[in-house]
């Protein structure tokens, strides 16, 4: 490979798009040629700074709140295609039933409106992770994971972790499908910089990869305020620091992270494979239960008021 070829292939190399053999010849050329080594470093820096600069641009907490609020208003006003209107059905009911149905609809509308306004009042915080938090995650990966490289695959998540937080119970099993091609060396709870992590240590070839779950508390957030939102707004966040890449998902109560020295895109793909299923499961456990409770409370109060209303009709 000569310098011209090298320059042509360099971008594809950085994006991890080349075949293994071509990759090797790129690397061989880099070893021999100072100028191309400098060019590789410069283009890598350019990528990082381009991405870093652009990713700073976000809608901001205000923008997100505005979006949610206005979208809710417009989405509910415009209605949704494919939903039938029940007006013909109501004709089949007797006068009395129609009144009852009318009252129920009014109750539902009021209830629905209450619920909606309640939701939009909920403060949405900027869901950015704090820099200390990222350092703690990298620190744990750096100090803990390396000690387990030679260990055999563990039997399952260790008991201490499960006791600490029942949500940590089967993390290794949930990640199993996504973690194909990787070897699991440890599944335990550990601590770094005063933060506890449920920690799964994997290797893929010579690469050491940490999958971690920890609490999403005030210290984890850039604003230092305990988050009230469901974490969904955060999407998948990525941070590059020194030689480490951190990809993180957030749920209402947890942060799920993948830490490794892989390039950004690869770490991200990995996170989509192993961290996303964990995140989904945590969300089901956290959000589903609270939504169910709210739904049940609302239906109870609706039934009670309908009961009272039909009693008064019978009198």
């Amino acid at each position: 490979m000569d310098c011209r070829n090298f320059k042509e292939m360099l971008d594809s190399f950085l994006s991890g798009e080349l075949l293994v053999e071509t990759n090797h010849s790129v690397l061989r050329h880099v070893e021999l040629c100072d100028a191309c080594r400098a060019e590789l470093a410069a283009r890598r820096r350019l990528r990082v700074s381009l991405r870093g600069a652009c990713l700073k641009e976000t809608m901001g907490a205000d923008g997100h709140a505005r979006l949610r609020e206005r979208l809710r208003a417009e989405a509910w006003r415009g209605g949704m295609a494919g939903v039938k209107k029940p007006s013909i059905l109501t004709r089949l009911f007797s006068m009395r039933l129609r009144l009852a149905a009318g009252a129920a609809i009014i109750a539902l509308v009021i209830g629905g409106a209450y619920n909606l306004s309640h939701l939009s009042q909920r403060l949405i915080y900027a869901a950015e992770l704090s820099s200390t938090f990222i350092s703690q995650a990298i620190g744990d990966h750096d100090h803990c994971a390396a000690q387990f490289v030679d260990h055999e695959q563990p039997e399952g998540m260790d008991e201490a972790a499960t006791k600490y937080d029942p949500a940590y119970a089967d993390l290794d099993k949930i990640a199993e499908t996504g973690a194909q091609g990787m070897r699991l060396h440890a599944a335990h709870i550990c601590s770094f910089g005063g933060r506890n992590f449920a920690h799964l240590v994997y290797t893929r070839g010579s690469q050491l990869i940490s999958l971690m779950v920890t609490e999403r508390d005030a210290r984890a957030m850039r604003q230092g305020v305990a988050p009230q939102d469901d974490g969904l707004r955060a999407g998948l966040q990525q941070a590059l620091r020194d030689r480490y890449t951190v990809s993180a998902y957030q749920t209402a109560k947890h942060v799920v992270l993948v830490v490794s020295s892989l390039p950004g895109t690869e770490n991200r793909t990995l996170a989509e494979r192993v961290a996303a299923p964990i995140c989904e499961r945590l969300r089901r456990v956290e959000v589903y239960s609270s939504e169910r409770q709210a739904q049940r409370r609302f239906l109870h109060s609706l039934m009670a008021s309908l009961g009272q209303w039909s009693d008064s009709m019978n009198d």
Binding site: D11, D34, A35, R47, L55, L67, G78, L108, R233
Partner: protein, 188 residues
Amino acid sequence: MIWNRKQQYAEFETVALGYADQLFRVALRLVRNRAQAEDLVRETFLQAWRSFHRFESGTNLRAWLFKIMFNTHYSGRRRERLQLAPSEEGIAETIAFDPPTPQRLTEEEVIAALERLPREFQIVVVLADIEELSYKEIVETLRIPIGTVMSRLHRGRKLLRMELASYARAAGYYTEESNAKSRGGSRR
């Protein structure tokens, strides 16, 4: 019925709104200011909600949302959309020369250079290198063949480096030392 729709809307918010920032960043490349970008993102989500019942779960939601955004933006801008297919041969000639990438650059310079790229290259570079969409997602989003995606990305990155190189020359970032280094290297 209302509960049903409410649940459906909650599900829509859950799965879709996480992409708001990504859509917003790309919207900023399509329109002039943040307010317009916010409007475009909201309009995109509104369209998406209206056809959400047609979205097959398990298919790529992000690409679907981006596709809706580009459709929303270019509806009524047919002429501009057609201009998205430029005479690429002309550009290929101008970029046969590939200068070394400057070693020192500020983020402001990088952003300014990105903004000077022709729209059709800028969008592909942003989708691939910043939002990290796969080729397949970009094909779905922009509805252009994969070969075009690849060549635009290749040329877009090259144009960006050229912009930066001319910037760096003007700012005197190419030092004697780095020139000497690159000359020394090429002799090997």
